[in-house]
């Protein structure tokens, strides 16, 4: 356990020294500035609307759509961070000769994996949580609008990026660095597409597309967590606003129920098991 903590601290130190955080902070500030400008402009336009016949509050539609967009951007940026912190953790580092001096120490390969996972997952979860919280505050200040649930979407986004860090770490056991980076982004894209197809299936309606969406959410639970987070924004809202948000900016809202949390834990356990098995069998 001590070894895993040391490896996690080592990963954080590496991120600090390599100025990963500096680059991330600069890019995140750029995104937040853009979001603040865009959100302010959007709410200014929306507030000019008069009353509408559908009895729909335009600020709800604007606020939830904009925050949903920010959540997608947050998840994407968190995914980029998760991938770059883990994509070469095993095979890439072994090919560069960085891993062998660590592996021969008496800490055990599972501990090394656990340390790398905890290090990356903690950084990414905190980053995503912060970005979500700041986006929420910007939305509140710009449009005086808050979602129906403020905490749950943030936690679900954090969990989603933790799952992606696990997927990337598992990939690093089997794939070379570049191939793993490409694979994880393709998996991320596949989840997104499956979510979109599922939402189209709900709107048409089409059972086949709905099945694709459901299968994608089960196979790639980070997408399910994202959809659940979107759902929490307007879960207590009805009418047109709710319908618009369900269509979502990048994949729609969907409620999966309490079983999702259990599946996420089980999924992480499966990822860990596969990574430990693969790492145990790998000659270095």
């Amino acid at each position: 356990m001590t070894g895993a903590v040391e490896i996690a601290l080592y990963a954080w130190r590496e991120s600090l020294r390599r100025r990963v955080f500096f680059v991330v902070i600069v890019l995140s500030l750029a995104f937040l500035a853009l979001y603040a400008v865009g959100t302010t402009a959007a709410f200014n336009e929306v507030n000019k609307f008069g009353s509408n016949p559908n009895d729909t509050d335009p600020s709800v539609v604007a606020g939830s759509t904009l925050l949903g967009l920010a959540m997608f951007a947050t998840l994407f940026l968190g995914t980029v961070l998760a991938v770059f912190l883990t994509l070469s953790a095993v095979r890439g580092d072994a090919e560069r000769g960085l891993l062998q001096p660590l592996v021969v120490r008496p800490l055990g390969r599972p501990s090394l994996l656990a340390g790398r996972f905890v290090g990356a997952a903690a950084v990414c979860a905190v980053y995503v949580g912060l970005l979500y919280a700041i986006s929420l505050v910007i939305t509140l200040l710009a449009g005086d609008w808050t979602p129906d649930h403020m905490i749950a979407p943030g936690l679900e986004l954090m969990a989603a990026v933790v799952v992606l860090a696990g997927v990337s770490l598992l990939g690093s056991v089997f794939l070379p660095t570049t191939a793993n980076g490409i694979a994880v982004f393709m998996v991320f894209g596949a989840g997104l597409v499956a979510g979109l197809l599922g939402q189209i299936g709900d709107a048409i309606p089409s059972q086949t597309l709905q099945n694709i969406g459901s299968a994608g959410a089960i196979a790639l639970p980070f997408e399910a967590l994202y959809q659940e987070a979107l759902h929490a924004l307007t879960s207590d809202t009805s009418g047109l606003a709710s319908f618009v948000v369900k269509l979502g900016p990048f994949g729609g809202a969907h409620h999966f129920g309490p079983g999702l949390v259990a599946w996420v834990f089980a999924y992480l356990a499966l990822l860990a098991g596969a990574a430990v098995w693969g790492f145990h069998r790998r000659d270095l």
């Binding site: 001590t2 020294r17 000769g97 062998q100 001096p101 592996v103 021969v104 800490l107 000659d283």
Partner: protein, 280 residues
């Protein structure tokens, strides 16, 4: 007391290629054993099996009586890989500190200072790895391998990036380790280096152990060379014990003897004969 390293019929296959074919090798406590062989002979594979980096396909290896790769075995070894890197952002002192923590060493700053002094890097304590020459990094690698007072040191080509002064430093270090009772398995291409410091030599070719023993026992007599007034000549087949008789016979025959030299094969001759000219 079990040997520091004991390899019993160790085999390693990569698909249809046999990297090691039933190698038996022992490194006793406090012994310095040189591992020689051409490129691709299986030397590094054997060292990696001893470290637990590679799983054997057959046979077994033990470190101080513990299965190679087990936590107990890894707690007793220090390892310097042939191709290794430390994070370029880290300082020398930080590299050693990390390995102290992972090895469970309580040596603290005093141990780090001693190790850096031992490898000639006392002045580079705060230097980043990226600012070090390859030779300095290799010496830092040696210091890292020594963290936690290992019982067995596994060194894979530890002098490949060193200049003659650096090699001499490593030789002195190995002699110091022998004095301290640390066992060493030294994988090297430099026959002269092995001949100078090692108690025993093992030669591997095509994945099999083809020769093993003390350097002095491995070399064979090649004759006795005598220099007389008529010039130099070699009496082939004669050995050191024959030299006094040869000299007295020559003197009795009225010849004036200016010099006598017992000739023996070098470790290089032994090596070339053992590997049959194999290289890759």
């Amino acid at each position: 007391m079990p040997p520091a390293l004991a390899a019993h019929a160790v085999e390693k296959r990569y698909r249809s290629t046999a990297a090691l074919r039933g190698v038996d090798l022992a490194v006793d406590e406090g012994q310095l054993v040189g591992l020689l062989g051409p490129n691709g002979a299986g030397k590094s594979t054997l060292v990696k099996i001893a470290c637990g980096l590679v799983r054997p396909s057959g046979g077994r290896a033990e470190i101080c009586g513990h299965p190679a790769g087990s936590l107990a075995a890894r707690a007793r070894i220090g390892y310097l890989a042939e191709l290794f890197r430390f994070p370029d952002w880290a300082r020398a002192d930080e590299v050693l500190e990390l390995h102290q923590k992972l090895a469970g060493s309580r040596g603290g700053a005093a141990e780090r200072s001693e190790l850096l002094e031992l490898v000639g890097l006392a002045d580079a304590r705060d230097r980043r790895v990226e600012a070090m020459s390859k030779g300095m990094q290799q010496r830092l690698g040696l210091a890292q391998a020594l963290v936690g007072n290992p019982r067995l040191l596994l060194l894979d080509e530890p002098t490949s990036a060193l200049d003659p002064v650096g090699r001499r430093t490593v030789r002195q270090l190995l002699e110091e380790l022998r004095r301290r009772g640390v066992s060493v398995l030294l994988n090297s291409h430099l026959l002269s280096e092995v001949e100078l410091v090692c108690d025993r030599v093992a030669i591997i070719a095509s994945g099999a152990l083809v020769a093993e023993g003390r350097p002095a026992d491995l070399v064979k007599p090649r004759g006795v060379e005598v220099e007389t007034a008529s010039g130099k000549r070699v009496i082939e087949g004669a050995g050191r014990d024959d030299a006094p008789r040869i000299v007295s016979d020559l003197v009795a025959a009225g010849e004036r003897v200016f010099g006598v030299r017992v000739l023996s094969s070098t470790l290089e001759d032994v090596y070339l004969e053992a590997v049959g000219g194999e290289t890759s």
